[in-house]
Amino acid sequence: MAEQTIHGEALEHGPQADHGHGPPKGIMRWISTTNHKDLGTLYLVFSCLMFIIGGIFSLVVRAELMEPGLQFLDPSTYNEFMTMHALVMIFGAIMPGFVGLANWMVPMEVGASDLALPRVNNWGFWLLPFAFVLLFSGFFMPGGAPQFGWTMYPPMVLQMGAAFPFMIFAVHLMGISSITGAINVAVTILNMRAPGMTLMKMPIFAWSWLITAYLLIVTMPVLAGAVTMLLTDKYFGTSFFDATGGGDPILYEHVFWFFGHPEVYIMILPAFGIISTIIPTFARKPLFGYESMVYALACIGFLSMIVWAHHMFADGLPLPAELFFMFSTMLISVPTGVKIFNWVATMWRGSMTYETPMLFSIAFVVLFSIGGFSGLMMAMAPVDFQYHNTYFIVAHFHYVLVPGAAFSIIAAVYYWLPKWTGVMYNEKLGKLHFWLSLVFINVIFFPQHFLGLAGMIRRTADYPVQFADWNMVSSIGAFAFFASQFIFFYILIRCLWFRKGMVKATDRVWDGAYGLEWVVPSPAPYHSFHEPPGEYVDAESPWVLDVDHGPMAARG
């Protein structure tokens, strides 16, 4: 732009330069910002808002399921809330949460000044609110919001009301947002690492995001293709998913799950990265088996693309396909097992302390493993015929998504909050938040295993009376879990806006913390690095980098 200053030059005026180049004030700051920290904050605030909205949708669902019979909703409204809960949580809460963390932390961890494509980054964030306006607009249209599950299977979804095209285009926009975010993170990691930071010295969180970005770039366009075919089938007379024209509804499931299975790893790999960062900090030991962690991530990334049909065992696939997808799925437990083993080995004989991020991380390791084991059970095709479409599935994926993905985001927020805001959160309240969350998450979802094994079907507003007891327990857990999160919101609001009387955070924050993000002051300045911090990275591995005693301290 003709009127633009070349910021690269301005930065060289000295450490004070960024005060002169601070952001514009008011709403325009947030609309036009290209700063990775501003955009990271926007992503995280958006994600938090969507957690609340998606949480409210789930409470509506749980209220209806509290007792057998129909109390509050008719079945199709129930289906709207059930579907919107999934879409909001997946595309609005978990994914933007991880992208927000990547925005904040990846440039700081690799020693870059910002993400590689800051203006595209701005676009990537703002796509999301617009996409969700389109998605929510369905509530006010004839036929209501999307109501056939987030998987949008034809031919059912083609019978949707006026909201159909808006759902499709909303998915397109979310996909573009994810792709731009992924390209940004991948290019930042590949191109903007501090001198001396080779790929195998890179912080593990950056590694987990590099693999995630690859998965996003491969699979999001495929989702766009799948929903485009839905759109043309409904409005332009194509027959992709219509057997009379030679198509096949199962084709949609293949294309969708080619996206959908890597998607579940997109929602868990950054979590692995976070947990692999937090556990060494509080065990005060380097991460056990850093290299095997990286290979395990890459291996999971690769395998995730050849297992998709395990979502379709009950479809009547040819036998060789069932066998292939069954064995490839079970294979994933090998690299995942490596990760669990390494986390436990990192804690083994460590000088452990149990601050809130660590508590959430330990809960992650245990509860994610439960979700992993139920996944392994369902990986067996003959057994899956029994579990298919029951609450066992619901229990399984909520165990990997809530105490898995969501707990890791909460852990990451506690872990880096002092770096972001410059003040320590209230540890007592944090621990209270953890224990309440831990108890109630199990109260919600553990009984759903029993319900599923007893044969309760998912995606239904009503159920036979023999399932009443555990559903009541599950619903009570859901309301209590939601209520416990207000402690978290209180902690966040205190740290963001009411810092009076709170303990100032040191630059390093945690005494076991290693990495470049702990080199910059707390709160982190608007531009973290004015020049590549090469001198800090000549230790053998980032885990050896010791801010107080290592090579960097020696250089003053």
């Binding site: 910002d114 390209i183 991948a186 590549p532």
Partner: protein, 295 residues
Amino acid sequence: MEKVATNENPHYFVPTPVPWPFILLIGITLTIFGFGHWLEGYVTVIPWKLLVIVGPVIFFSIVFRWFWGVVHESERGAYNRQVDMTYRMGMGWFIFSEVCFFGAFFGALFYTHVLSIPWLGGEGAKFFTGSVLWPDFTPVWPSNGPGAVGGEFEAMAPWGLAAINTVLLVTSSFTLTWAHHALKDSSRAKCIAFMILTVALGLVFLSLQAYEYHEAYTIQNLTLHSGVYGSTFFMLTGFHGLHVTIGTIMLIVITCRLFAGHFTPERHFGFEGVAWYWHFVDVVWILLFTFVYIL
């Protein structure tokens, strides 16, 4: 910290705040609202059809304005080597994502061609699907399914217009490469001449494709409604044609920039990025020609 104001600035390029992405999204959202209501035939007080015009106008103006800014920054030497590499990697990943988008439609083509049509005809374990549900259906490709959706049609012949188009597009990849070599040899006039030739080949390709579509609809009764064959044919060639259109527009922009004296023999990523895109479009066409037309 010495002041270094050359291209080889070792430090970072940090752009100032921009309003374009947000305004771009207003354009996109208006377009979608208009288009969606148009599809649904939804009558309300808001003039939806107007949005289908206003939205794209905003969209294209902002795309132009955004790129205008980037081009000028580039010409003013604001980008150091790191930014250059960022654009290279970004473009590479972007093209990769486009490949995956086409992958979804190629997947649909292979699935219907190789699996679902034979299954509907009762192949293997699907014996009863054929004999009970569709006893009269002969599973041969090209097919519009057991329901003969869209009626009798004549499939697209590979050795007519499509073969000519293949030659045109492959040639255009060569002319583009020659233009690139000319640019690197500092012979700008030659470069521009080859660029104009490339654009011309792209335009001829597009007109021939338009003619082919016209023939399909008027003479062959081959339409988007012609079962899976029509669906896969028009969706694959249609999205490819869209990419050729975008590519041609980008080539025209690059040609204009060459006239304006942009690019140096050493640094011309704008040119190279568009060239990568054009080669990608070319490779997709070769795959299309093989799997859609010949097989």
